[in-house]
Amino acid sequence: MNLKKYLTLTRAGIIESLQFRLSAFIMVIGNMLYLIVVYFLWKAIYASVGNEPINGMSFYDTLIYLVLATALSGFMEMYTVWEMGRNIQSGKIVLDLLRPMEYRKYLFWSYSGSFVTQFFFTFLPTFIVVAVLTHGAIPLGINLLYFVISVVMAVSINYSIDFIVGTICIYTESIWGINIMKQVVVMLLSGATVPLAFFPETLRKVVSCLPFQSIYNAPLTLLLNGDPDPAYVLQTLGIQLLWVVVMLLAGKLFWRVSLRRITVNGG
């Protein structure tokens, strides 16, 4: 694989996103507001049960989990679905299809620059603030390595899901409603808005059979567990790897089938 032709797109993405400084600052502020809401909401929830741990998670555990989940989601959101929808609707997709690389890869690498900027502007600051404020509630050991591996796979699964949802636009010519539904489903079933520990037993069983929990729940549990059981680590990463492969193939296949009926709007 010639990595250079992909990395050049990452580089362009970084330069592009740095052009829009104001939008980056506003996003940071938006995230802060969300976190303040989360803080008071869960404080109220814990107050209502007399500040006892719920399902093994104390107020601080939950808060750390949710703050990091928010930072992670800022990092992983690539707006792939919007972009595909817009390109299919306007017909601009014809130009992307004529790049000398697969569309799926082209799109991914074009937006990969946002990983780098988001990592430095959102995730890392949040992580450091949380680590300092909680005086070492985030263990710093081998779990960081597991976390990184897990996040890489989470990014891949998340992108494949986005790509599949974006492909639906070829049929519907409109993406708004579908994307809103996708966001709600992914954020809820992945454990990004409510930790999976709070789910009822049955729902938790169902969710554990779906790809979504590999996006947020898997990396975050690996990160917050300082002394993980090797069998558990292996199992979590193994399931993630399985979903990476399954979703990748599903996305590729669905795209190939769908492309044959693309009409390309305009001119």
């Binding site: 010639n2 250079k4 032709k5 990395l7 050049t8 797109l9 362009a12 330069i15 592009e16 052009q19 829009f20 306007s90 017909g91 601009k92 014809v94 130009l95 299809l97 004529l98 790049r99 000398p100 690389m101 697969e102 044959r260 693309i262 009409t263 390309v264 305009g266 001119g267």
Partner: protein
């Protein structure tokens, strides 16, 4: 070596029969009432390496659909198509390395970045060697004043500058074939001339095959020796431009404006002259064959019988050529 071969190419789309109004729109949600639209109907042609072919037709004739099939974006419903030495829709990514495209109404450049950054990205994704890249940039410098453009973000460019940049970008990886889809649309006369000169120079220097779709007969005159005309998906004409000009060269369109009901005036004029007369809201158009009668003589005669407020003289347009081909045929 021929660079494009097309045989009996056909493309059909299935389109939902839409109904009007709110009630109709709700019905459409559950409708299975599809109709088949034939966008390209049994077209055959061969294009040799290094040719510039003008591909003409009115809006909706199927020009862009043909181009999308030639570039591999659309799969033909039937027929054979070979571009370079591959079947486009099966080898789109591979073919992309060998072709360049410019769609006059959209840009392939990185909108927020200076042009030079777009060129650098293209250099990497097309894997252009430093040597070839520099040689190409040197050639560009001899053709256009590129320096002021290089450091300007694409979004700040005028339409003309952007089109020029898009054409340079399409030729950057030295493709064998370049598709230009209405490259001069919306440009002023001097920019059009600049772009025509550039396309001509690139074709001469690199022996690049160019497929040019346009509405502008000026583009065709300046660049193409051969033209292909399609209308409603069907091929009407495929021959050199000299042949067509021999046939149509003596025609001019005389347009006059008068007070009163133009349709009634047109009716009267039709009786007075031997030519095809039509009227729209503003103008009465008379297609004059100068071998039969000079335009000025026609105008002189009309002046006696009608009160002419304004007049225009036009070269024959693609639409009129197509109309004449239908009425009389060429060969």
């Amino acid at each position: 070596m021929s660079s494009i071969q097309i045989k009996n190419l056909t493309k059909q789309f299935k389109v939902l029969n839409r109904h009007e109004g709110l009630k109709g729109s709700i019905q459409d949600l559950f409708s299975r009432d599809y109709k088949t639209v034939t966008a390209v109907d049994n077209i055959s042609m061969t294009v040799e390496q290094g040719e510039i072919v003008g591909y003409l037709g009115p809006n909706g004739a199927g020009k862009s659909t043909t181009i999308k099939m030639m570039t591999g974006v659309l799969e033909p419903t039937s027929g054979e198509i070979i571009v370079g030495d591959v079947v486009p829709y099966r080898n789109r990514t591979k073919l992309a390395q060998e072709i360049g495209v410019v769609f006059g109404q959209r840009s392939q450049l990185w909108w927020a970045l200076p042009l030079i950054e777009s060129f650098r990205i293209l250099k990497d994704i097309y894997r252009i060697s430093d040597e070839n890249y520099n040689a190409m940039m040197d050639f560009y410098r001899t053709q256009v004043d590129i320096e002021p453009l290089l450091h300007k973000p694409v979004r700040q460019m005028s339409l003309g500058q952007r089109t020029l940049s898009d054409i340079l970008a399409a030729f950057l990886h030295d493709p064998k074939i370049v598709f230009l889809d209405e490259p001069t649309i919306g440009l002023d006369v001097s920019m059009k001339a600049k772009i025509r000169t550039l396309i001509h120079a690139l074709n001469q220097e690199k022996n690049t095959t160019v497929i040019l779709t346009t509405h502008d007969m000026g583009d065709v005159d300046a660049l193409c020796r051969r033209i292909v005309i399609i209308d409603k998906g069907k091929m009407l004409y495929d021959n050199d431009i000299a042949h067509l000009k021999g046939f149509f060269g003596s025609y001019r369109t005389l347009k006059v404006r008068m007070d009163g009901d133009l349709q009634a005036h047109a009716e009267e004029i039709r009786k007075e002259v031997d030519f095809s007369v039509s009227a729209d809201e503003e103008w009465i158009s008379i297609l004059v064959d100068e071998e039969k009668e000079k335009v000025l003589d026609v105008l002189g005669r009309l002046q006696h019988t009608h009160n002419i407020r304004d007049m225009q003289l036009e070269e024959i347009s693609t639409e009129e050529i197509i109309k004449k081909i239908y009425e009389e045929g060429v060969e």
